[in-house]
């Protein structure tokens, strides 16, 4: 290992180290400050005679003449083992819970390799979250990446915790684990999750990586990769079904922008770097199932849309990579509906693989489509009646208007601890269909109306 005391320039989080012959790209370095304090960093650009190093954490106290930089000859790795479960680490993978370091010889690169598309197994197992708006209309399957698009002040944490608590695959035992990565969230939010996992007994099956709002933003770049490396280990080497919660991806993207700006790169939209799509994909694409392996990685990233704007680059690029999205609505939140999921904007791309006969129920697709179309019609009519008055609507239109209200209250709305089975969810759909004329039920097959809907219609 080589040590250098040749820092020639410090610019933002970047150190320029001279006379370095052959630093490896992405190689890890250890920086020793004049006062003996140690920091870590990573090589971002290397050439004969110069290495540009990105420092994790603040650069306070780093000087030119006395700071030493040691190149460790390897890229970033973390130790992985079964002992990770029940532990809390910081954003760089060091213990944060007062416990000792992990005793494991196995250290894995945190930059994950892409899963060969040919090795992937198609995600097709239905995960019952107990939340009707998700199970019924935006079904989650094992190995999917389904983000929550939220806004500041909306109850995304409650929903994520409820999903972590209630998720189960029908007819299977408890070989699951939760990996939780916090990026720039507040101490209070982190405690909410820790307490929730403790109270429900899930803590022993959880690995937490916490980079809080007060921690260095540069570390945020590594935190999700640490978490996903741990998740891949648990899933593909220990056969567990891992649910990964990443929150808040907006903070991650801001850290990415900060580094890009300090490297004086050409900015893309709203100052975010042009490679943000590729960068995010190296996080999100680490969800999935692999042929011949028992475990799976399911991702639940959370992001807050700045200004509730779904066209902002962060939700936009995320939506292009993930397999759908769950969008929260401020309107529903103000109406006191929990969870305030706007089903029209939400989507699960893998839903079809996970539902239907033998998986959920044969009428699932039809019920979901019918709920969408009837609710969309009701919402349109709501806008219309705001202008022309309810009196100008036809009686049939008024039925749809009423349907939309009831649908929001009873189908979307449910308790924070209410765990609905998929049968309850679908039957609730049929119960609501009783409010609209049978001739309008075009999206469901006739035989299903007889089999599942008849008993709710007088």
């Amino acid at each position: 290992m080589l040590e250098f005391r040749t820092v020639s320039q410090i610019s933002g989080p970047l150190l320029f180290v001279e006379n370095v012959e052959n630093a490896g790209y992405n190689e890890v370095v250890e920086i020793t400050l004049p006062n003996g304090e140690k920091k870590s960093g990573q090589v971002l650009d290397t050439r004969k005679g110069l290495a540009i190093v990105q420092v994790f954490g603040p650069t306070t106290g780093i000087d030119l003449p006395n700071t030493t930089v040691r190149f460790k000859g390897d890229i970033v790795r973390i130790p992985v083992s079964d002992e990770m479960l029940g532990r809390i680490f910081d954003g760089l993978g060091n213990p944060r819970d007062g416990g000792g370091p992990l005793l494991s010889k196995e250290r894995q690169e945190i930059v994950g390799y892409a899963i060969n598309p040919y090795s992937r197994e198609e995600p097709a197992e239905f995960i019952q979250t107990g939340i009707s708006a998700i199970d019924g209309m935006n079904t989650l399957v094992r190995g999917q990446k389904l983000p929550i698009f939220s806004g500041s002040g909306l109850p995304h944490n409650d929903i994520a915790a409820q999903i972590a608590r209630q998720s189960k695959v029908l007819g299977e035992g408890e070989n699951f684990a939760v990996v939780f990565a916090a990026m720039g969230i507040t101490n209070e939010e982190a405690h909410f999750f820790i307490n929730d996992f403790r109270n429900t007994g899930a803590f022993e099956r959880t690995v937490m990586f916490l980079n809080l709002a007060s921690d260095p933003s540069m570390e945020r770049i590594l935190t999700p990769r640490m978490a996903l490396t741990a998740a891949e280990f648990l899933a593909f080497e220990r056969d567990l079904h891992v649910l990964v919660i990443l929150t808040d991806m907006t903070n991650y993207c801001e850290a990415l922008r900060e580094i890009s700006a300090s490297r004086e790169e050409v900015p893309g939209r709203r100052g975010y770097p042009g490679y943000m799509y590729t960068d995010l994909s190296t996080i999100y694409e680490r969800a999935g199932k692999i042929k011949g392996k028992k475990g799976s990685v399911t991702q639940f990233p959370i992001l807050t849309m700045p200004g509730d704007d779904i066209t902002h680059p962060i939700p936009d690029l995320t939506g292009y990579i993930t397999e759908g999205q769950i969008v929260l609505s401020r309107d529903l939140f103000h109406k006191n509906i929990y969870p305030p999921i706007d089903v029209l904007l939400s989507l699960s791309r893998l839903m079809n693989q996970g539902i239907g006969k033998g998986k959920t129920r044969e009428d699932h697709r039809g019920v979901a489509d019918q709920l969408y179309s009837a609710y969309a019609r009701g919402r349109d009519l709501r806008n219309l009646s705001a202008i022309v008055g309810e009196g100008a609507l036809t009686p049939e239109d008024r039925q749809f208007l009423k349907f939309a209200d009831e649908f929001e209250k009873r189908f979307i709305g449910q308790g924070r601890d209410e765990d609905r089975s998929i049968t309850e969810t679908l039957d609730l759909g049929w119960e609501l269909f009783a409010m609209i004329p049978e001739t309008e039920l075009k999206r469901v097959k006739k035989e299903f109306i007889e089999r599942y809907g008849r008993r709710f219609r007088q």
Binding site: N22, K48, P117, E265, E285, P313, L344
Partner: protein, 580 residues
């Protein structure tokens, strides 16, 4: 031998690379990562590397292959799945496990597989570049025709028949430069279009079985189309539907910077599907290229060229080929990322100034041609564009719209209410209608073009009427206009909407499209006629046959005569309403 001087992400600068020429393929570092020379300044070659460069150090060796980035063409392409630089993914899996590691080399064509070669020339025949010397029956439906590689002409000295691998000699040609041995394999540099004799105007529609496309926004064989839409609007589903049901002989599907699970879906579903035209498995005519978003960005840039070169190869055998590229935006972003690393002066939104030239070069490789061996072949290109925030004023959308003749505008508001395919009928267009008009008149019906125009007119009138309804409510409209609203709703829900996931509705033949459209227009005419003779609108809206019409799409192809019955029932029910 060259050595690495600088590493910055996928861009590497090397010194002293032997005989460095632009676009030479090089092996970089101890791990022999594959790269391509994209700039030469003095002694320094800039290389874009197709694999992750983590751990690469200055001083490591760089070896020049002195060959441009090429694809291997020959029997064995069909049913394959490749990465962006034509490495077969199943072989990568064998060599490096479930994850794609660095520095793995794999031949594109299986060198051990033996193919039955049937010659079609005899000794003494004169052959030219592109001449067909024989074929391999590669699948039930596709004969891979073996052609003389470009630049070779002369007299056949020897030609063999029997089982050969792609490296075995199957013939010998006497040329002015001496004897040349021919194998079934040839190489082509991906950045150069393959030659042809002549380009012809596209005059035959490519039938996709998707009603909104075939009826309203038709694409021609050899034409170009773009499908533009924000995330969740169904771009990928449309591309998959085209790959499944297009009536072309060969389909090349490139997943460029998209999701891994989507490629898996193709791999799982295609082998189970049957081509409605040939009744063979769909996979037998398909070549897949998967360079997912997290695979190296430089290989993503190359993937589109790899795909179109393979498409041109099958075109040159005289086949109709369609190429689906999902998504060209990710390809453009790969260009932007590499351009940024090269510190080039950026154009609009950080994209390189040569973006629109590259787009044009790509779409110009589509076309219906007379091949070098005097056959007719075509490459149809359908590119998906994913505009940031759904805003089509961005450079990739705009650059593409200037080039493609068909535009399918996907609409988030339609998608949100689950109107699929979410092709907006007011914003989309096809410029092929005038050239393929005659084909429809000859093959479907004389009235086809008129019917389409009428249906479109009703949809346009609806849009205008909706604006009035928004102000005064539907009750204020006269009955005639309410009938227009009613028919337009029928067109939207019972004709334009089509479920890709329904066993029957996923594919709709032109014949069925014609019958369905005729029924709806017939209904429209009768409604107008009866309402003007005094029948109440309410009794028309309460007719039983309306439900039968709404379920026409569920009728199986072999039962479509049933639609005639619906027409009869409809006429009877109208008569039972009284007057007219």
């Amino acid at each position: 031998m060259g050595v690495v001087y600088r590493v910055s992400g996928p861009v590497v600068i090397a010194k002293d690379v032997e005989n460095a020429k632009m676009f030479d393929v090089v092996y970089v570092g101890e791990e022999r990562l594959i790269g391509e020379i994209i700039r030469i300044i003095g002694n320094n070659s800039t290389i874009q590397v197709y694999e992750d460069t983590s751990g690469l150090r200055p001083g490591e060796p760089v070896v020049n292959t002195s060959k441009p980035l090429s694809v291997e063409l020959g029997p064995g392409l069909l049913r394959s799945i490749y990465d962006g630089i034509q490495r077969p993914l199943p072989v990568l899996k064998e060599k490096s496990g479930e994850f794609i590691r660095r520095g793995v080399f794999a031949n594109a064509l299986d060198e051990k597989a033996e193919w039955e070669f049937v010659p079609s020339v005899k000794p003494g025949d004169t052959v030219n570049s592109g001449s067909i010397i024989g074929y391999v029956q590669e699948s039930q439906i596709i004969k891979t025709r073996i052609m003389v590689p470009y630049g070779i002409r002369g007299a056949v000295k020897d030609i063999y028949s029997g089982k050969f691998t792609v490296n075995d000699t199957v013939g010998i040609v006497n040329t002015t430069n001496g004897e040349i041995k021919l194998t079934m394999k040839e190489y082509w540099s991906v950045r150069f279009p393959r030659p042809y004799k002549e380009k012809l105007p596209p005059q035959i529609p490519m039938i996709t079985g998707q009603r909104v496309i075939d009826t309203f926004f038709t694409i021609a064989k050899g034409g170009t189309a773009c499908v533009i839409g924000p995330f969740g609007s169904g771009k990928t589903v449309i591309q998959h539907q085209l790959a499944k049901w297009s009536d072309t002989d060969v389909v090349v599907y490139v997943g460029c910077g998209e999701r891994g699970n989507e490629m898996t879906e193709v791999l799982v579903t295609f082998p189970e599907l049957i081509d409605p035209k040939t009744k063979g498995p769909l996979m037998d005519r398909t070549v897949l290229i998967a360079n997912t978003s997290n695979m190296p960005v430089a290989a993503r840039e190359a993937s589109v060229y790899t795909a179109i070169t393979i498409a041109e190869y099958f075109r040159d055998m005289g086949y109709d080929v369609s190429l689906m590229a999902d998504s060209t935006s990710r390809w453009a972003e790969a260009m932007r990322e590499i351009s940024g690393r090269l510190e080039e002066m950026p154009g609009e939104e950080g994209y390189p100034a040569y973006l629109s030239r590259r787009l044009a070069e790509f779409y110009e490789r589509a076309g219906r041609v007379v091949t070098l061996n005097d056959q007719l072949g075509s490459v149809t290109v359908v590119g998906a564009v994913s505009p940031p925030g759904g805003d089509t004023s961005e450079p990739v959308s705009q650059g593409t719209l200037r080039l493609t003749k068909v535009f399918w505008a996907l609409d988030a508001s339609l998608a949100n209410r689950r109107h699929f395919p979410s092709v907006n009928w007011l914003a989309s267009y096809s410029l092929y209608h005038s050239t393929i008009k005659e084909w429809f008149e000859k093959n479907i019906s004389k009235e086809w073009n008129m019917m389409r125009d009428r249906a479109m007119a009703i949809l346009q009138q609806e849009e205008e009427l909706q604006q009035i309804v928004q102000l005064v409510g539907p009750d204020a409209l006269p009955d005639k206009e309410r009938i227009i609203l009613d028919t337009a709703k029928m067109l939207r829900e019972d004709y334009l909407q089509q479920s890709a996931f329904d066993d029957v509705d996923t594919y709709c033949s032109l014949k069925k499209q014609h019958m369905m459209l005729k029924t709806i227009l017939n209904y429209h005419d009768l409604s107008l006629k009866f309402v003007s003779s005094g029948v109440s609108l309410k009794s028309i809206l309460g007719m039983k046959v309306r439900e039968r019409i709404s379920r026409m799409k569920e009728i199986r192809e072999e039962m479509i005569a049933e639609i005639e019955n619906i027409n009869r029932e409809m006429e009877d029910e109208f008569k039972s309403l009284g007057v007219a």
